[in-house]
Amino acid sequence: MLRRKDILGIRDLNCEEILHILETAKDMKEKIGNKKAREKSLQNFSVVTLFYENSTRTRMSFALAGEYLGAEVADLGVATSSVNKGESLVDTGITLDQMGIDIMVIRHSMSGAANVLARNVRASVINAGDGVNEHPTQALLDLYTIFEKKKNFKDLKVAIIGDIIHSRVARSNVFGLTKLGAHVVVGGPSTLISKNMEYLGAKVTTDIKEALRDADIVMGLRIQLERQKGGLFPDLREYRGLFGIDEEMLKYAKADALLMHPGPVNRGIELSTEIIDGHQSVINEQVKNGVAVRMALLHLLAEERKRNEDTHSKWTHTRSFIQNRWDQRYTG
């Protein structure tokens, strides 16, 4: 049981909730390949994906997860919808709410956008990435992948390498991993990393070898080519030479370390092709686990909505959120 209306960030979740989601994902994963075993727990539920930023992979993953559980899944093509005519996020949310959507999956370029949507709609909201804030479902699938292989988080050393400052994936992972007892070190060039990350409980370094030393998990992040134009590093050749991870670098980590990456990966830049396809890599598993984790979240939210059917009115937000902000907060 997950007593929440929405999944907005790992910051809000406690250990028990995270572990419960991971356990549920384990069940779901077993069912992915077995059509008969699939529970249609989302029958008569409608899910809409609302992507203000492009991402085929995350959107597809949600769509499949919904369909495997028997939900009706629709995508609001943001580029072609009334959003393009200047409709506000809140108005779009209210409109979808009126259509009876049960779960909204949102990706947006501004931090906190999912929170704003969530408090204005009756539907459950899942954050699929907001600005530079959080990407909770990516972190949960990363956690699941680690959990499956390592069984435990306590005292694991996790090195996250790359463009930390612009990475909601890194942030959500730091929130989750530190809650579960792992030690996180983030490493990257000083222009792509901030000391402030220490507030979240991570160690910050620009020395990649130091970050990788004896790590149980190595997580590479995608380097975005446009950062070069912003003057944050000179060019890809230099980035690769100083911060790219190859077989030699990976040796600093433990022999049984897992190599992860949220994708899509720039082969030969942040990670070398040899290690992407090497025996330590779990990058392909991450993709598969992504569907399982999203199935788990949809399942848990749907379960909670069914449980609260009689109290649904509690979630009926009107436009006057300011007046009602205190009493309308979901109280469980």
């Binding site: 809140v90 501004m110 906190g112 204005n120 600005g131 804030n133 402030n196 300011i322 205190w326």
Partner: protein
Amino acid sequence: MIVAVEEKITTSADKTIDAKGYWVTPGLIDVHVHLREPGYEYKETIKTGSRAAAKGGYTTICCMPNTNPVIDNEILVEYIKMKAEREAIVNVLPIGSITKGQKGEELANIGKMAQAGICAISEDGKSVMNAGLLKKAMKYVSMFNLPVFSHCEDPTLVGGGVMNAGEMAERMGMKGIGADSEEVIVARDIILARNTGVKLHICHISTAGSVQLVREAKQRGEAVSAEVCPHHFSLTDEAVEDYDANTKMNPPLRSAEDVKSLKEGLKDNTIEIIATDHAPHHMDEKNCEYDRAAFGIVGLETALPLGITHLVEENILTPMELIEKMSTNPAKLLGIDKGSLQVGKIADITIIDPDEEYAIDVNTFASKSKNSPFHGHWVKGRVKYTIVGGKIVLNNGELV
């Protein structure tokens, strides 16, 4: 007019108010209000803003010129005065802009506006980034004996920030506004104001560094004053939790250390004025993505209870000191004959029940806008009567 202040007044009166247990104070004066008229009447008007002021115990408010059009010439000053005379229930003193259209390029009609009756000049909403131009404006305005109200913010250092830089911004995943963007301009304006003969007033200071800069300038004997807004001493950036844009204002809510320094500054009188920076915005401008939301909150109807709750109750200020900062000192800054209850003074009076406890409810606001982070916030102290020029405009908590 105030006829007598005595223990036993024998002459009969048309109306008596039983103010037992209440504070009877000179009418409150707010030197920093955005009335939004002309141009943004959907947020607030001179009429509704003045009613909010009366509810908050204010008998005089100064309105900032960043309207549309900007108040940069005498005709617009006359317009505000005329509207205020017709519709406002408290005194409204217009503030003129420093540059035409607040574009930072050429001086506004400061002299003509002075003749028309502005009480100060200000570019509020931004700083005049051309230091040479600001210095000339300071020299020019000194001959009319008007103060310069300085909003201190270097936009090149703000860089798209929406809340205080620091731990909380890191937790929330939002861009921060550092203390430096405010402090470099506070320092600059203090330096520029020297030897110009102008009275420099620093608006809404929010950081420990700004308090120190003002403190040092005062120690050197320079003509500098500063105001703080109630939200800056009542809340920290922790309030931004939940991405509620009612916590978004400029300058932003700061850290606990900054709040502590502001309180020290209030206590040692580095900060001699409390002003609201009442900044009404429509709900649509607040119920949206935090990055996209407008900066600013309403403040007229919450200032006094916040002062009592967070300053008097916490023994930072005595009741007398609080009222000095909300009435006497603002009157001195403006050079107006108000802020006193002496016999012969105009009867601008506020009567306050300092003991009433309640949760602030934005639905009771007289302001057109309800953008306040204090909805549900427990406070002590309620304004019962507001008397403007002998006329009761707030009667036992109800607008007349």
